[in-house]
Symmetry: C2
Subunit: 367 residues, 2 copies
DNA sequence: GAAGCTACCGTAAACGTTTACGCTCATATC
DNA sequence: GATATGAGCGTAAACGTTTACGGTAGCTTC
């Protein structure tokens, strides 16, 4: 008789009566023949309760399926066992990977996570999101802030609970501690790999400078080059998209200025780039070595399989939750940044003698 | 003096002392010169408060930055404005897309989301997760259950609050309502597209039958074929991975039994497949048409750009939150499944007369 | 055998709301 | 002018915990 196809009748096959009203600490106490205080003590495994009593109470708790009411606990202790995660809404590889890892680790440490995402303009949405999170009673907040704008909004916002930001290469402030994977190192690794292969003309298809990731990966590329005494190669800044990389790659082909090697700021960038080359008979890696960044699913099956940099999101989540929980408990925790690793596959190869003169593109014609 | 364009001085403007201790309903009442009851009434915009009083209280609330303590509210009302999301931990395209969309839509409807992910073995972890979610005070739960095993665990679990499951093609039970995108239709669309192109020998590189998505996409392929009066082509079941598709593709090439056209159960599957073909001079789409499923980022820049099926996660999220919130409020809500759309790109093309004899593979040699 | 200690346990108050109820005062009603 | 009515407001109790404190019984210690 209720609406359509909706199991409102669900409530007929009720979870048995015992589930209907949640048992409270008093129910447990009564059955155990002790006071609620004692039950509370075993719940928080505090001292001052005999082994036998503890045992009995525990058994009863299990039997009747008692579970602590978080709201009541939160109300009286005003500390909580949940942490908030603030993310930009983007389904991009890095942010999502971080998010999933964070949830996973937090849960294993006994914290629930409530996530909320924000949109432009950040100035308003970030403060509102922080407030909402605070309202729900989180004890601390981790912000996944790949975008510089978003980070700025976080710096300007105020919040009662500790806030930690995951933003590559950004600096900490008194209010918000910043942590991240060492992506600059990742970029250096990639570039150094190209240098080790004998390349001297190494370009960078950069990501967006609106992103920390874009900035810091570019910085790593520059640093590796300068450390090796190499002149900075061509650098073009884009927006991470395959489309942009494709079109820019096309342009390079047209103008005949294909470098020996390219460090692409992301695998998606590499993907577009490689297509532009493939369509014009420029062979990867024979004519140009390409390395990406991210190790997205499938990058090992690109044509050719892509040399790239892999970040360890689990380690990042482990560390950053440590830091946040430390802050929530008033302890300081120190952690060093995580180091990404280089994954060498087929898209990069040793520089050939002739290709060291980067002047002749299109040496192979349309496959 | 700090790094790059970063407003560190932001933190001098520290959260003022007033933020230190949260103001309560009593603070508001005292300032307004009314009792806390009156404040509560304006908070819940209940009747029985004069316009002028209401006005004044509202102003004070804004002035001192009062915000309701959710824990206290939850404790006394035992209803909440947050919904739980249960997901498998996988960072796969479908589940993540659904998750992000869900958070987004729920937030816009005024619900916070707390997400938790589960791992094998599901029988235990699902019930535990449901309980945890219940503990945190969610009013309802949406389960993203791509895996058949996981769904079974949900069916067997018990939960006080309404549970809705997103599982392609699975059926509802009295306890849990099931909703999904019409992936079978998506698969039909893909297969029909191949049929329209004149292909008669259409194979399916299926996903895992442990997944609803795998089952239902296969079913769509079968149905389209049978509706068209075509004999079912080759069907091989895999695990979604590029690696499996690559190796299986290699085997097909070796055995010389390459079909006219292939419907791959996912873009990643298509990716591996195409690489196996490309490495052996089998051209896509000239020698074999391939269509994928998912429209992952970058699939438009595969070699060649991939014809595929796109799901509308936002619409899915919209509908399924409607349904859940309806259930939470005791209303029934009816929604019809979302229809995916076909995205036609370059990996599929008209059947050529000669290729209608699928007997000669390797007609083009290594590019 | 009194004093003191310890181990164990009970009790009251508090956390910040909502809800049900009751009170007061002005106004309408006859 | 007594009575009913209702608008506006205050009050008490409850939600399920935790925490601080107090109490009792048994044991040690001299």
């Amino acid at each position: 008789m209720r609406g359509t196809a909706i199991p409102t009748e669900a409530n007929d096959r009720l979870p048995d009566a015992s589930l209907r009203r949640k048992p409270t600490i008093n129910d447990v106490a009564q059955i155990a023949g002790v006071s609620f205080g004692t039950v509370s003590r075993v719940l928080n495994n505090a001292p001052d309760v005999s082994a036998s009593t503890r045992e009995r109470v525990l058994q009863i708790i299990k039997d009747i399926g008692y579970r602590r009411n978080r709201a009541a606990t939160a109300l009286v202790t005003s500390r909580s066992t949940s942490i908030g995660i603030l993310s930009d809404g983007s389904p991009r590889f890095g942010p999502v990977g971080t998010l999933m890892a964070l949830e996973n680790i937090a849960r294993k440490k006994g914290y629930a996570t409530t996530v909320i995402s924000v949109e432009k303009p950040y100035e308003e949405s970030v403060q509102a999101a922080l407030d909402t999170l605070d309202d729900t009673g989180v004890g601390g907040i981790i912000v996944i802030a790949p975008l510089v704008d978003m980070a700025a909004a976080v710096w300007n916002a105020s919040c009662r609970v500790p806030v930690e930001m995951i933003a590559a290469g950004a600096s900490s402030t008194p209010n918000v501690f910043t942590y991240s994977e060492n992506q600059e190192l990742g970029a250096r690794l990639a570039t150094q790999h190209l240098i080790d292969l004998g390349h001297t003309d190494i370009a960078h298809f950069a990501g967006s400078m609106d992103w920390f990731d874009g900035r810091v990966r570019k910085r790593g590329w520059e640093a590796a080059l300068s450390d090796a005494g190499l002149a900075p190669g061509l650098c073009i800044e884009g927006d991470w998209s395959p489309r942009w990389a494709y079109e820019t790659g096309l342009q390079l082909v047209r103008e005949g200025r294909i470098p020996q090697a390219i460090f692409a700021a992301s695998d998606h960038t590499a993907l577009g780039l490689i297509r532009a080359f493939a369509e014009n008979g420029v062979r990867v890696p024979d004519d140009v070595s390409v390395v990406g960044f991210d190790d997205i699913e499938g990058s090992d099956y690109f044509l050719p399989p892509l040399t790239t940099v892999r970040q360890d999101f689990t380690a990042l989540a482990l560390m950053s939750t440590d830091v946040l929980i430390g802050a929530m408990e008033g302890r300081g925790v120190d952690r060093t940044p995580i180091a990404p690793t280089l994954v060498i596959r087929n898209s990069s190869t040793r520089a050939t003698s002739h290709s060291s003169s980067p002047k002749d593109p299109r040496n192979g014609q349309n496959t």
